[in-house]
């Protein structure tokens, strides 16, 4: 029994692994943002569209019919079949819907499963810096060590095969890439992906390719990593519906990989998740069957806004490499002499524009901010105007 004034010899309440995760430096902005009036947010990385109604309606109908139970662990067979068909049509890749495809709670879960399925304690996973915030965290949670490959604006934020190879040790297990990229909007050329495939093959590494933004490319073709020659055996492809079909809140995605890997991932999935949300799976079937025109229309619209924001950022003196994918612009803010966190905080307080500091995405993101342009044109214009005023004031 604990006596008054005596503290228990503390076993630390929180696990070391969890404590290692970097506290999100941007949470405070978002908390602040919620309490402020008149803020224009370029912060949230999700479409500003509601899900196309016919997709939502399919889910509503399924609820009316009483489809409210678990599905098979792997997902509704029809959804897996539709996913296989879609991947074959889009990228000419062949995966068996019965054994090589797993429906997950967004790519987030798929990424977590992939890491836990392949990583042993101390295994290293190589990834680009900057990168999506969950990448290093997922590796750490799985007991692995993230290894960063710096990328830069000069190289269009593409990760180079030779830079990967230089960091390979006998502990290296996998390469984790995500293109089109969050936060930079970078896409990888086919040749550069081929080079990475070569490195992976030579060193027998698994490649996890997060292609959630695959459909959002502008003026360039997306190359599906799994569609490259001779990579099938050691590739885990992650994809989903959130960005292309404006379905972020549904939480539905998938992992595609050879049988052995999917079986391992499914094992974890069945103990931790059971099955992806049933109504979201029904909606995803509808999306794959009839959602193509919606995607095309939304991409056209993102592209118009992309061109406006990239030009606008240049006009106010923030140099910005042209992003060919996703819905982010990643301008350099070094001309203000501020760190990206200072810039973001000051910009929010003084001009009520929310952007995300690049440093949230890794050391190489320092000096940049992420601006999501999935918001109305009027808001983009207003945000650019306010940012222009801000930059003028602080330009060094």
């Amino acid at each position: 029994m604990k006596k008054p004034g005596q503290t228990l010899k503390q076993k630390k309440l929180i696990s070391e692994r969890t404590n290692r995760l970097s506290p999100s430096g941007i949470r405070k902005f978002f908390d602040l943002l919620d309490s402020m009036e008149g803020v224009i947010s370029l912060g949230v990385g999700e479409p500003d569209y509601a899900t196309p109604w016919h997709i939502s309606e399919a889910a509503v109908k399924s609820l009316e019919k009483g489809y409210t139970m678990y599905t098979s662990n792997s997902g509704i067979p029809e959804l897996r079949q539709e996913t296989a068909r879609y991947l074959k049509e889009k990228y000419s890749i062949d995966y068996d819907p019965f054994g090589e495809i797993l429906m997950t709670v967004g790519v987030s879960e798929a990424l977590d499963l992939a890491m836990r399925a392949i990583i042993n304690p101390g295994d290293e996973v190589i990834m680009p810096d900057p990168h999506y915030v969950a990448y290093d965290s997922c590796v750490i949670l799985a007991g692995g060590e993230p290894v960063m490959v710096p990328t830069s604006q000069e190289n269009n934020f593409e990760i180079a095969a030779e830079d990967i190879e230089a960091r390979i040790t006998d502990k290296t297990k996998a390469i984790l890439i995500g293109y089109p990229a969050n936060p930079t909007g970078a896409v990888m050329s086919r040749q550069k992906l081929l080079d990475i495939a070569g490195v992976a093959r030579r060193h027998q590494l698994t490649v996890i390719s997060d292609e959630i933004y695959a459909r959002l490319t502008y003026g360039v073709e997306h190359t599906c990593f799994a569609g490259l020659p001779d990579v099938r055996e050691n590739t885990i492809l992650l994809g989903g519906f959130s960005k292309a079909y404006a379905m972020t809140g549904w939480r539905i995605g998938y992992a595609v990989a050879p049988k052995e890997i999917i079986a391992a991932m499914t094992k974890i999935h069945q103990y931790t998740i059971m099955s992806a949300p049933t109504m979201a799976q029904v909606a995803a079937i509808e999306a794959l069957k009839t959602g193509e025109p919606d995607v095309v229309e939304m991409v056209e619209d993102y592209n118009r806004r992309r061109l406006i924001i990239v030009k606008g950022l240049g006009d106010i003196g923030l140099s910005c490499f042209e992003p060919h994918g996703a819905f982010y612009a990643f301008p350099s803010i070094t001309c203000t002499g501020m760190t990206s966190e200072e810039f973001s905080e000051k910009l929010l307080m003084e001009e009520k524009v929310a952007v995300v500091p690049g440093s949230a995405f890794g050391q190489c993101g320092e000096g940049y901010v992420r601006c999501c342009y999935a918001t109305s044109l009027a808001e983009i214009e207003e945000a650019l105007m306010r940012m222009g005023r801000f930059v003028k004031k602080y330009r060094k």
Binding site: D34, V133, R304, L307, E381
Partner: protein, 160 residues
């Protein structure tokens, strides 16, 4: 290019030539030229605003009037339709298949005025054989815009 520009303007007529130029990667002068030509060709008819008048106190009555007509030799429905279209309270006019021929959308200040229009103007046009008037009780969606829907879903401030 013309279609791209029209799509942008149809969605927001206030988009500036400068913005359209950036969005389409076309010089401003070229954009202006294309728009002027489209105006001349009567592809672009007018730049209007979608207004939800119901939010104001203004009394405004909408009616859908089905009209059965006897087509005239040679010109068919067109000359009758043109005559109906001239009335300024006629907002839209369509030739339709089915149990009636013309559908007239009328907007006026009162039911009384609509009734006057039907009995004194419409019914007297030669060839008009009968009309059925439906007063609109509530407008839900007009010109592709939902009138009294939620003001867009508010995005939650999520972390990435």
């Amino acid at each position: 290019m013309l279609k791209d520009i029209l799509k942008i303007l149809e969605n927001d007529a206030r988009t500036t030539s400068q913005q359209i130029a950036t969005m389409t990667g076309t010089p401003v002068s070229e954009v202006n030229k294309i728009i002027e030509q489209a105006e001349k060709d009567r592809i672009i008819l007018k730049y209007k605003t979608v207004i939800n008048w119901d939010r104001l106190e203004d009394e405004q009555v909408w009616a859908l009037i089905e009209v059965r007509v006897k087509p005239e030799p040679e010109v068919g429905f067109d000359s009758i339709a043109e005559r109906i279209a001239r009335f300024e309270q006629v907002r839209s006019l369509y030739l339709a298949s089915g149990t009636y021929d013309l559908l007239v959308v009328v907007v006026d200040k009162s039911e009384h005025k609509v009734a006057d229009f039907v009995s004194q103007n419409l019914a007297h046009i030669e060839g008009v054989q009968g009309t059925v008037t439906h007063f609109v009780l509530k407008r839900y969606k007009d010109d592709g815009e939902i009138l009294n829907g939620a003001e867009g879903v508010k995005r939650q401030p999520v972390i990435l």
